[in-house]
């Protein structure tokens, strides 16, 4: 197995800047052989993670972030560092709000935990470090999220759902 492709990106962060960052990520992902589902899931997860950092980590002030992606073929291994307020997302409520409550927020961590695996947080000096892997979970697979055997690939198609 050859060297894995990596993207290392440093940027200022703001809600608008997120789009630029995601464009760079997009180009990196598309240059590889990732399944389109993985591309879409990664974009969504990163949008959620980066929005949280912009809003809560930096409180909409200026701040830097560092994103590192490793293309591990069937999945992307990600690391996002920021220098904002200490924030352990693992401690957050990961349940989606009840639909009928018509909440305008609170969906982000649910989406992140649903679409990633191996989510881990550490505080490294003055940095928040969030690591996770995105493998591209098809929608019909979300109730099998916890089962590592269920990764839909061309060789391993998802069985029809009951």
């Amino acid at each position: 197995m050859g060297d894995k492709r990596m993207l290392s990106l440093e940027s200022d962060i703001s809600l608008l800047k997120i789009r630029e960052i995601l464009e760079s990520v997009d180009a990196f992902v598309k240059a590889g052989a990732a399944h389109p589902q993985l591309h879409d899931d990664l974009a969504l997860v990163l949008a959620e993670v980066l929005s949280n950092i912009a809003r809560h980590g930096y409180g909409h002030d200026q701040g830097r972030i560092h994103v590192q992606l490793t293309d591990a073929d069937q999945c992307m291994i990600c690391s996002v560092r920021d220098f904002g307020a200490p924030f352990n997302p693992i401690l957050q409520d990961h349940n989606a709000p009840i639909p009928d409550s018509l909440c305008e927020g609170g969906y982000g961590w649910f989406l992140i935990t649903t679409l990633t695996r191996d989510l881990a947080y550490t505080r490294d000096g003055d940095q928040n470090v969030l690591e996770f892997t995105v493998a591209g979970v098809p929608i019909q697979n979300t109730d099998m999220q916890g089962d590592p055997a269920y990764h839909e690939t061309p060789e391993n198609p998802v069985p029809p759902s009951v």
Partner: protein, 113 residues
């Protein structure tokens, strides 16, 4: 925030001309909806066929728009892309909105603002 607004069979049809409904435009979206829904029409049908990316901020903005309109003026969705639909399904917010496969044909009220 660009919309194309029309009427169809009594409904106010708002076709979102943006490709992204995300944190960067969530507030602008809600403001634009407030303006657009000053025009009459019931229900309000939001066309999403041009939107290829929606995150939880975009979802929240749509929910906010629904709450703005109140219970007497439903907000319905039309033609969401598979990626956008995935976010609605994962969060189960597809149970809250009526979702049309396609945008109804309209008589234009105004061009994109």
């Amino acid at each position: 925030m660009q919309f194309s607004i029309g009427q169809s069979d009594g409904a106010l049809v708002i076709d979102v001309l943006e490709t992204r409904l995300d944190a960067a435009v969530a507030l602008a979206f809600k403001d634009a909806i407030r303006e657009a829904t000053a025009s009459p029409g019931n229900p309000v049908i939001l066309g999403l066929s041009h939107v290829d990316f929606m995150d939880s901020s975009g979802l929240g903005a749509i929910v906010g728009a629904m709450k703005l309109l109140g219970p007497e003026r439903p907000l319905e969705l039309a033609a969401p892309s598979p990626g956008v639909m995935k976010v609605f399904r994962l969060t189960r917010m597809d149970t809250v909105f009526r979702i049309h496969d396609a945008l109804p044909g309209t008589q234009g009220l105004s061009a994109a603002q």
